[in-house]
Subunit: 159 residues, 2 copies
């Protein structure tokens, strides 16, 4: 069912029950294309900030503890955002690379998303601590969680 | 001058002087199109989270203090991001609506960006406080700062 079609009835339900805040997160997007654009934007920002820390972990850029902590803090905020934009009916509506498995095995997808958020949390903690070895280990964990989701849930081509 | 062309010399300079972290923020993007995609993504997320608070301020959605505070907190993090992606040479490289005035009157543009960040900071403070009247006032301030920048620095059509 499309978000576009769901929304009026859900809003009416929310208004009646006074449960707006308890509605599925997907209902926060008016159209499927809004949800797609939102999650893609989240991943763009995550990729930018993670890659700046990864470059330090890999020795490609001089380690700057303050910059690492700032980037990890931003990453930690944004990492929590995209999951809410994978609601039912957001598989189509704009070009995107989300595989049908996201909705077919939604519990496993949620687990993978939670894993990524947890790994980013560890990276944020490591970056606050300022120890490069701990940051390197945490970057590895985040990278693996990115890759796991991309392997399982991101198609090679846009649909 | 394009970022793409600037980068190697800037990186070499940074490596020699050990001043990577002090390089202009624009140098953090490998290509102009990366900077454009990054700032557009920031605005997409900002618009989403601001509109959720604005909907409460306008009475279109029931006021939920916790949701308002969460959205304002996210907005407050992301509002600080896009300015860094308006470096010299990022006017072209991907379809975008940035007006040449951004780089012609860069001090005024910086002032407008700072104003927006300050207004978002006030909204974040108001949302933490949970007082709807204060949130309404702060939403107005943020809205005006969005509009001022859009009026002056955003073209109607993509270039």
């Amino acid at each position: 069912m499309m978000i576009k079609k769901m929304k009026p009835s859900l809003i009416a339900l929310g208004a009646v029950l006074g449960l707006c805040a308890a509605l599925p997160a997907s209902a926060q997007f008016q159209k499927a294309e809004d949800a797609i654009k939102y999650r893609q934007s989240s991943f763009t920002l995550m990729g930018t900030h993670f890659s700046r820390i990864a470059a330090m972990a890999q020795g490609k850029v001089a380690f700057d503890a303050k910059a690492a902590a700032e980037n990890a803090d931003i990453l930690n905020t944004i990492a929590k955002l995209p999951y809410s934009a994978f609601g039912e009916g957001t598989d189509k509506g704009a070009p995107n690379r989300a595989k049908p498995e996201i909705w077919k095995e939604s519990a496993k997808f949620k687990e993978a998303a939670d894993k990524m958020v947890a790994e980013v949390g560890k990276l944020d903690a490591a970056a606050r601590g300022g120890n490069l070895d701990q940051i390197k280990a945490a970057v590895g964990g985040v990278g693996q969680s990115c890759k796991a989701c991309h392997d399982n849930y991101r198609a090679k081509e846009t649909n």
